[in-house]
Subunit: 337 residues, 2 copies
């Protein structure tokens, strides 16, 4: 086991660069500051997704700006991590209230969540943004907005961001001046209008967990339909390819931070999709890096083009599994992933 561990960490320390010298940046998805040292050890090069919901839940009152800031401050400017990406509040209002009326949504996944909620509760959103912008004074920081469905929401979120930033400047508070603003692409409509969104932001981060749910109209935690949840569905792959193409045409980076980004079986598909950054559970990084280091961009493009011509998710999955087992036998022994 220690040998395996040592072997893995060897891959972890090196960049995720293919044999034909295409480099993918590798980020980590984290929820707590305490996870950072392990993430660095496992080869994270930045924080691709810092979830901030924990700051809000299980409390009696809303978090203060200082409470937010105390967390964010610790997530930026970390040795060994080149960037940190904070995702703004991504829950529904029911998550920090005991009012049962607020919690009553028949389909919460299609309800008042994330940026929708923040654009209604602007004062609360501003508190979080103030803390984020202040944390930006201490290192390379990116902020991203979840559940954006179209250009109006990104306009509005940026407008509020600018107001908050202006306030902080007036107050002579130290701030990050070059914070990058990104949008999560996880609502299908955002994927379809990616060309326009790309002109408004500095980067995309594709949130595959939700994107796949909505594209396939599947609640992935409902075990009765979980069999239909399929990252390799041709509709999902095509939409992602469109999103990365739209991002690149407009000169912005395209990251992916859903679970799909950390699945080694999809490594070549992800390379073929031309993602600039993959952000994942830190423990998955060494294996993903190892596969990327042993692959080529060319074969990845060929594999992607091959499977994009298939009609069904079943054919794509069978082909990818077979290809990956043959190509990386020691990584994919036995049946399936």
């Amino acid at each position: 086991y220690e040998l395996v561990q040592e072997d893995f960490l060897k891959y972890a320390r090196l960049p995720a660069m293919t044999k034909d010298r295409c480099r993918v940046d590798i980020g980590c998805n984290i929820e707590f500051i305490e996870e950072i040292p392990s993430a660095v050890l496992h080869g994270a090069e930045g924080i691709g997704l810092y979830r901030t919901e924990f700051i809000y839940i299980n409390r009696d009152r809303l978090p203060t700006e200082e409470e937010h800031f105390a967390h964010y401050r610790q997530a930026v400017g970390i040795e060994g991590l080149a960037w940190s990406t904070i995702r703004t509040f991504d829950l529904g209002g029911d998550k920090f209230t005991s009012d049962p009326k607020l919690a009553k949504e028949m389909n919460p996944q299609l309800g008042l969540r994330a940026i929708r909620f923040c654009l209604k509760e602007v004062e609360q959103f501003k508190v979080q943004l103030r803390a984020i912008i202040r944390a930006g004074a201490f290192g390379k920081l990116r902020v991203m907005f979840p559940m954006v469905s179209g250009i109006e929401e990104i306009h509005e979120a940026k407008r509020i961001f600018d107001i908050v930033k202006g306030d902080l400047i007036e107050e002579h508070v130290p701030i990050g001046r070059d914070i990058e603003i990104g949008v999560m692409i996880e609502v299908p409509s955002a994927g379809i209008v990616a060309e326009e969104l790309a002109k408004e932001v500095d980067f995309f981060s594709i949130g595959t967990n939700d994107l796949i749910q909505y594209v396939l109209a599947i609640d992935r935690i409902n075990e009765r339909v979980a069999y239909l949840y399929e990252p390799l569905h041709p509709a999902v792959l095509r939409l992602i390819a469109q999103i990365t193409a739209a991002g690149h045409r407009n000169g912005i980076r395209v990251a992916m931070c859903g679970e799909m980004a950390g699945e080694p079986l999809y490594a070549l598909i992800l390379l073929g999709l031309e993602l600039d950054e993959l952000s994942m559970n830190p423990l998955g990084i060494p294996r993903m890096k190892k596969i990327i280091q042993n692959a080529t961009l060319q074969e990845s493009r060929e594999l992607l083009n091959k499977v994009l011509a298939f009609n069904s998710a079943t054919e794509i999955r069978d082909y990818v599994e077979h290809y990956m087992r043959r190509r990386f036998p020691e990584e994919f022994q036995g049946a399936g992933q």
Copy 2:
């Protein structure tokens, strides 16, 4: 009022043909046979959507084949209606069971519904299909499957359809030999793979109510997010344009049967989108026909192309409302729709 009524019915009796002679077929959405005479009076030319869920709900036991057949038989071969489209079961299993466990889905709109449910409960699905195929002996009948997300489901539904048809032939039961099989396009993935689906079916019917919900990740009956439900969202219009183009490239008809299809404000947009058939609440038919009869396909295409270049739903809505109020002042007086 009688004058208005008389005036309206004048438009109702004529086809929905534009001044430049583009004809759109007009269907009606119905739930009960009793609605048919009024639908014919209001100008329906066929049944675009016959909902069959009522046969299942509020009962102690599942409906028999004869019960299904008794309903369907009355919906085909009706004088004045050139076609009848039966949609197969479109609910979750919780709708005809008293077992509370079955009803527990956190996000029922993303759950085991419609074709998903039918492909699990094949025996029950076969009972409905037998009745539909038998009803096809009495007139021009089409059947369509709701909530299809990809090609596997349509393959499977057609396979079961063929088995049932084969059984009926063996039993020497009179059947419809030329029943058209269609797929509802209402899951985003189905829209994205429309090209492939078009090769498998005889027609598309775009179910905009659900399609818009999933594309925008909005539960339209949740009033907290209803403000985001927007048929004129650029992502929705683009996806519909892709769907009709894919259908037509493959030589099949493309209908629309969601509420969007019956909204007079969208009449020119719908014409521009090249839909072959609009199916709506019967009471809405005269007004829709009147507008189409007074419009041209050319202006509709120009309007659509104009708004497809806009970035935001707000701009599109403003432009369409302004255009329609100016163009059809007596139809769109006052503010908005």
